[in-house]
Amino acid sequence: MSELADQLRTCPNCGQQNAMHSLKCIRCGEVLEDLFAFDDIDTDGEEPTPESISDVLASLNENILLTDQTESESSETAEDQPNGGDEERRSGDASQTPGWLERVRERTREEDSSGEMVKGGQAMDKHRSAGERSQVDQAFDEVIQRIREQSEKERKKTRKMETDLVDENGVPEWLRRIRELHPAHEQDTEQVLTSSQEESFDDEWTDEELQELLRREIGDEYNPGEQPVYNNLTSSDNPEIADDQSEEESGFLPIYEIPEDFHNIPDDDFDEPDNTKPTKPGNPELLDKDEDPPEAGNKDPNIETESQAGVEIQHLIDNPTDFEGGESEKHEEEENKEEFSIIESDTIGEELEEQEGELPVETEESEQAGDRDKKILKSLSTEEEVVPDLLLLRDQRDRAQVLTNIIEQEGHRTIPVLHEKNRQSKLGRLILALLLLAGVIISLVLGPGDNLHLPLSLPAAALQEKTAKLQSGEVVLVVLDYQAATSSEIEELAKPVIDALSYQGVSFRFVTSQPVDLWLGEELLPSKEAGLAVKIEFIPGGLLGYLTLTAGTSPVWGMTPIERVVSGGTKLLDETSLVMIISDSPDFVRNWLEQISPWHPDLPTLAISTSLSEAMILPYFESGQLSGFLAGHPGGEGQNQQANQRAWQVGMLIMMVVLILGMITKAEADAAEKDEGHNHA
């Protein structure tokens, strides 16, 4: 077999090749006892019993290979006189017997055969078990490590392919993404870029660019002209590094002081998997895997200071193998370098593009300084080495993107509103207002037109019939409850009815619970030509006041405050022949019919209201609770003469046109959207 095969052991159970020092099979866990198997010991895989260990120890004494010839010959005598025989063996054959065997023999002699030997065997078994566990764990770790390395290699290849993507213009993928994030800035930058610059632009950062970014990130503390600190420290702490560096390079090493916020890797990123952690030299995480990266401002004396960290960074840069260990670790580090996914931040992209624009105006002096810095950067990092401040993990990039989106959306509306105020809506509203005004003005100028010949509505006919039956001297209680805005409509309906009743000799009593009706109701008062002197009484308490005056009686101790205000007190409806409610509120009419009228069921109730209330009042008329009412344009000769037919028709036509315009506008918008969708498709 080959040399490799000689170093491996085959598992008797599953055939898995295991390391020579493995005690258990890494595949099936079978105990591999061959290494520590002894002659005449059954290696069946079972845990050795104390008795078996004792036998093993005893056999060591009896083994012919481990004992000399004299002892084997006098074995019987030795069992009878163990001490004397042992002394002779130690004295006579000390040079030929191995040391460990001598110690085992001595231990065996010291312990009796009844129980001490068992204890020794158990201790030995424990020791063996601990060793086995550690070796098995080590073997397992090696296997897991190999699996990780293989998977990381595959990921590295994928990422490498992604980062190497270059479009037809030669723009790398990562720069294209940055430009997508800042399209406006990109346009400006494109105008500045010349063709030569575009040709020189590569997906790899130049040393000058990195140097400029270092200077901007670190600020005034970064001074490449000063005496380097790294070199001195490195030379003093690590002579090997000092020997490797040339004097020229060491002379230009900058003072790279780590600011307090030097690293841009958040603390909560330490829970990232190992394969995502940067393993490049210069990364603080590389300083010690078991310790957190040194942070400036940390006063813990156990943590190395900034200068020490800088020394170690320089040491790692120049001798990465010193940190990683052997060649295998070096190879692993190179793989990690390749697979490490770095994503330049938006700020870096902007600065890079700004730097491109500044390139043509650079002087020779700056170029010389750039060459000098280039050498320095070469000492600091190779082409793959990037200072941590220039790096962003993917997770950090995502968080920054989320934050950017939040900032961009700040102050903007996230919930769509029903309609937005814009110039178009204002213009449309102006057109509507002008249209309405034109209609009203034209209708007023042209006059009322022909009188309407609409038939009298059924509630209006009932009201007319009911009022016609009233005799002279009967009292009509007029309840006012309307506002100034609707007074023009209400009064146009109520005035003819009241005038007709006044000519019939009917008496009126005007009451209201609305203070505004005290001055509005004056228009409804019968004309003085009829010889009626009427005033409007105020009923405090609204509907409760009406209820008090209709449902209650005066207590034995006298009149209540409400009764004192109203003439007649609780006999408000006692002397009334008819109640006429003049209100623009259907609720008031409804409440009156439901709360007040039941106390005087024989008293007929009429109502005069606006057209909006017609639908709400009509059910009470049909149920008989309301004897009749006027609302809107009830028709009839009297109403037709007062209505401006042309203005009414103009208003109705304008409303119809507006509704149709709304439908057409919506249909047109839908068609345009549909066409746009087709174009996109």
């Binding site: 709400m616 409303m655 315009l661």
Partner: protein, 198 residues
């Protein structure tokens, strides 16, 4: 508070049902309610005046409107006290201010309604609600124009009358719903089911 409301409701119901024995007690209870309502109105007015006075004192943004309010309120109150609420000149003076204001507001309401009529389809889109609203509005506007002698055609008159019953149907549904809601609310008050913060 819940107990007071429940007891008051029960007593009021008893006073209503046991007429005319309890009519005098009903009168007293209603007077209490009216007086309490008037007091709350006075508290509200005083709170409003104090608030606007505070705005004026601290120079809050828009305090000029508060100044106008305080001035008009004081003038109305003083003239009302001095001349009395029955004075004709006083009533005409208030009417000359209030009537054009409210009429202008109603005219603006008409303009807003027209604007809403245009935007309802653009904002709400095509739905059963918007389409039915638009068609019904057009229909009733057309019928109310008075261009066509509907009453002369008996068949058309029946159809139009049936259509005009539709608003009444909706109004009846609203009234029945409001009545049921009022009954449930009253029962909750009577049985103490109303939470205090409601």
């Amino acid at each position: 508070m819940v107990v007071i409301a429940a007891v008051s409701g029960i007593l009021f119901l008893a006073a209503l049902f046991f007429q005319p024995i309890t009519s005098s007690y009903l009168n007293v209870v209603l007077n209490w309610a009216i007086v309490l309502t008037a007091i709350t109105l006075l508290v509200a007015i005083s709170n409003l005046v104090i608030t606007h006075l505070r705005y004026i004192a601290v120079g809050r943004r828009g305090f000029l409107f508060s100044l106008v309010f305080i001035a008009t309120f004081a003038a109305t109150f003083v003239f009302g006290i001095l001349r009395g609420s029955d004075d004709t000149q006083y009533l005409r003076w208030i009417k000359a201010i209030q009537l054009p204001l409210e009429t202008a507001l109603l005219g603006l309401l008409a303009l807003v309604m027209m604007s809403a009529a245009i935007k309802i389809f653009r904002v709400r889109g095509w739905s059963i609600l918007t389409v039915s609203f638009g068609l019904s509005a057009l229909l009733f506007l057309f019928l109310n124009l008075g261009f066509f002698p509907i009453a002369q055609n008996s068949t058309l008159f029946v159809v139009v009358t049936a259509l005009q019953k539709l608003p009444v149907v909706g109004a009846r549904g609203l009234l029945i719903g409001a009545a049921l809601g009022a009954v449930i609310a009253a029962l909750r008050v009577l049985f103490g089911q109303v939470v205090e913060n409601e």
